[in-house]
Symmetry: C2
């Protein structure tokens, strides 16, 4: 395989993983169609023995629908993707997921601060992570996005990984880490305003409930939680995360704007955690002039947001929800530990086992 | 037609134009597939007698390619879209354009400050503007995105329009107004940093050259202009808009990052004005930690930007380039009047008549 790789083993690695890109040459690993998955490490890399990969929600649902939920076909589909691309990068959804495992070997120049034996979660997308699956996924029944497997993954110098906390159940920790960029960025944005009103769309979801807690902690004077149905309305209303709980369809700008206004809006900061398309207009009309919208939903349309704000003469700052903020994992895990309301919502969600808006963020 | 409209004539209009939406009910005019184009005004509306519509670059190129450049077929295609949708909203590209004309009637409650007889340009997208074309576009030869026509358009209470300046040629003023959000937002973002380094991708284009001038005026200590080829390199180097002119492919993150670093980067503020897909990674790796990227290109992929930054552990703020900033038209026209370098670049571009990256922004 070495003949196909531009940078031979032993030369300096790129912290971005460029030396692992086979095709097309010169692109970043995420844009690549094929990565070099050799087990041998460049000096700043880390190899992780897999425990499970966690497919992102969009990818899992697409695969499940495409294969009628048949476990054998699902296993085959995931294996085909990983073997042909050298990473779990769903070509239909463009998304991946995350992984957990145990550090197997650490290159002498790795800056990640990991040691062999550490049990970790990767916080960079599987769409850019070299991955080898060594079994036939026989331990995966295809009913959940959590895929137990044998194999290994490679982390680069600039990858992000965090040790799994010992005081939280692994599924709960994974669920938090999957969306941990949202509360950290929400806190940062809310902190730029004085006593702002903060509205979270998809407020009973994972990223939504963490963002509500983060907004309160960062100084929100009023929090408005928007949910799509009566079940989520009841669940959120049983907590004290939102000052006002509003049931509205975030895709209906008129209904949403009316509901948010009645609840004390428009919002100075609107956080979009609803993973369905078509929420840009509603978010814009529910946000005050000089306000900020943070789009975490991977279903966000760039052009709908840009042209929508322009068409409404809305002087709002619109942020692409960058999933990386320094310290994001620790911050989100701390919220989970110290906010019983957040934990209740997460546990209620996992017990219902249904996909919900505001779900997986790590693509 | 009134039976199809939710709000009958005479009742209060929505400043967002919701009362003009026929199908599907309840959405914003931009998301609608059909608008009510009646000439009768709601009290806060304005009717404009058309002089020409300016198709956005993406839409014009798509139509031209789809119809082999045949003027008769092009006219028919534009007329079909406008007649079936009640607006110029290209269903393939999702974009529209802008218009110029003369104010014909002003509703008694219009807040736009216009008077009958004013010659104006609309600064909201044609994708949300009720439009009627009354001729067969016989004056349009199909060779340019500027379409002379007879007919009328409706502006809402919250639309944006600006009087055409009398001291600039109309084509030049239109070209400036088409991208006027970019320099205003660039100036705002640059002003948040102290003596920042600012890099503009697509720097010899319309939005790019205006953004360079705006960055300098807003306090940039160093400006880097990135262009794709030798012709644009020469054109930009003949001006003093950029401290350093760099030739690089913005879609190649490694080449771009290397070039920007050699020119004094990474940048504190990166402004993306290149209207080709795949520039997200390059922009991210060319921007310093704590920097800001402003994406004006309508070819930007939300997910590529979000997952790309996360995958690179890049703590950068990524803004969706909102085309509306208060005072944007006046600011851009002032730059055109007072910066001879910008005018030279605009005039050189229009004389070459070829579509270029960094072109039309108003969708």
């Amino acid at each position: 395989m070495s003949s196909q790789v531009a940078v031979p083993s032993g030369t300096a690695a790129s912290p971005l993983g460029l030396h692992r890109v086979i095709d097309p040459p010169g692109v970043l690993p995420q844009a690549a169609t094929r990565l070099d998955t050799r087990a041998e490490l460049w000096p700043d890399e880390v190899r992780v023995r897999l425990e499970r990969v966690n497919l992102d929600a969009a990818s899992f649902h697409q695969l499940r629908d495409a294969h009628g939920g048949d476990p054998r076909r699902l296993r085959r589909a995931v294996l085909d993707i990983v073997r042909s691309r050298g990473k779990m990068h769903n070509p239909v959804t463009g998304s991946g997921g995350m992984l957990i495992g145990t550090v197997e070997e650490v290159g002498p120049e790795s800056p990640l601060g990991l040691r062999a034996g550490d049990r970790i979660a990767s916080l960079v997308s599987l769409t850019l992570t070299p991955l080898v699956i060594e079994d036939d996924l026989v331990d995966w029944d295809g009913s959940s996005e959590q895929v137990p497997c044998r194999g290994y993954a490679i982390l680069f110098g600039r990858s992000i990984a965090t040790k799994l906390p010992e005081d939280l159940p692994v599924p709960l920790a994974l669920a938090v880490l999957d969306v941990c960029g949202a509360p950290a960025l929400t806190a940062r944005v809310v902190g730029r305003y004085t006593s702002p009103t903060v509205c979270v769309l998809g407020a009973a979801g994972k990223s939504g409930s963490l963002s509500l807690a983060a907004a309160r902690r960062a100084g929100a004077a009023r929090t408005i939680g928007v949910v799509p149905d009566g079940r989520e309305e009841q669940a959120l209303a049983r907590t004290s995360l939102a000052d006002v709980v509003v049931r509205a369809d975030a895709r209906d700008p008129v209904a949403l704007s009316d509901a948010v206004t009645k609840a004390g809006g428009p919002a100075d900061v609107t956080v979009v955690c609803v993973d369905v398309p078509g929420c840009e207009g509603g978010a814009i009309v529910s946000t005050a002039q000089n306000g900020t919208i943070v789009f975490f939903s991977m279903a966000t349309s760039f052009s709908a947001a840009a042209l929508g704000a322009e068409g409404l003469a809305a002087d709002v700052t619109m942020l692409i929800g960058n999933g990386y903020v320094p310290g994001h994992a620790e911050y989100a895990l701390d919220l989970m530990r110290t906010e019983p309301d957040v934990r209740h919502l997460f546990q209620a969600r996992s017990s219902t086992k249904q996909p919900r808006p505001g779900g997986s963020r790590t693509g």
